[in-house]
């Protein structure tokens, strides 16, 4: 059953990626990238990486789609046709990049293998056994993020907060400037 789900999800991802590459209407492409993120989130859930899946769905399907659409509102909504003679070099670059990644894949440990450095390092034992006495937080992941790596997490939160404020400033200005035009349209 897991194989069927995995294969069908990955097939759908390939179809979406090909459609994104082929379509010239950029609005459709923005929508399809959101869809691609949702598919990726499903795959992450299957891999038991629920937090990564959640980030993927929130950022990929939610935020990025809105940013793409905001950009489309300020620019043209159709892609310029790429000259045919650029296709071969582009295919070469994409193909060799993919080949390098597939080669790197052979160096990874098997999915769920118990003898990886992550599982064998003594620090894992320390976190799993002693963290409850040191911090009194029942969830180990929360302990790591909020206690042992608290400053790191604080930095991340500041970065995300700043990015969110900047996005709100950019979108807010765009909406205000276009309001008179909007009224004119409503009267028509």
């Amino acid at each position: 059953m897991l194989d069927i789900i995995n294969v069908s999800l990955l097939l759908m991802m390939i179809v979406t990626a090909l459609a994104i590459a082929r379509l010239r209407s950029l609005f459709a492409v923005a929508m399809l990238t959101g869809l691609f993120s949702l598919l990726a989130a499903c795959v992450f859930v299957l891999l038991d990486a629920v937090d990564v899946a959640f980030t993927e769905a929130a950022v990929g399907a939610g935020m990025t789609t809105v940013l793409f659409l905001a950009t489309l509102g300020l620019t043209r909504s159709r892609e310029k046709v790429t000259p045919k003679d650029r296709a071969i070099p582009a295919m070469l670059v994409a193909g060799s990049c993919g080949a390098v990644l597939i080669y790197a894949l052979s160096g990874l440990p098997e999915f769920g293998a118990a003898d990886t450095p992550v599982h064998q390092h003594p620090i894992t034992e320390k976190y799993l056994v002693t963290s409850i006495d040191e911090t009194h937080i029942p969830n180990t992941v929360t302990t790591l993020l909020a206690s042992y790596r608290g400053f790191d997490t604080l930095g991340e939160v500041v970065v995300i907060f700043t990015a969110g404020m900047v996005v709100l400033m950019l979108l807010g200005r765009c909406a205000r400037e276009r309001e008179p035009d909007q009224d004119a349209r409503a009267k028509d």
Partner: protein, 96 residues
């Protein structure tokens, strides 16, 4: 067994929705396809939880429902108020 059947049904629906998002002639087809696909993701995560004995995934699926709703409202609101996706050249109107 029941969950496996539900999962297959969800996967087929996902494929159909994807076809609408790729082919869909108008903008609204595509917006609705992505919104539907978000709903399918919610169902997918809920069913995956029960299928593989992790029923606590249901809570995560609920949060996805919230994201999906907010995302669609954002897209529609931006299209309406921010004139997003609209370009003031009439020859492009067939696209959007």
């Amino acid at each position: 067994m029941m969950f496996a059947a539900a999962m297959l049904a969800i996967l087929i629906t996902m494929a159909l929705t994807l076809a609408r998002a790729v082919l869909g002639p108008t903008v609204y087809d595509r917006i609705m396809a992505v919104n539907l696909f978000g709903t399918k993701t919610v169902l997918f995560i809920a069913v995956v939880g029960f299928l593989f004995g992790r029923p606590e995934f249901l809570d995560i699926a609920l949060v996805y429902a919230l994201i999906n709703f907010i995302g669609t409202v954002a897209v529609l609101k931006l299209m309406h108020y921010g004139e997003l996706g609209w370009v003031d050249t009439s020859w492009e109107r067939d696209d959007l």
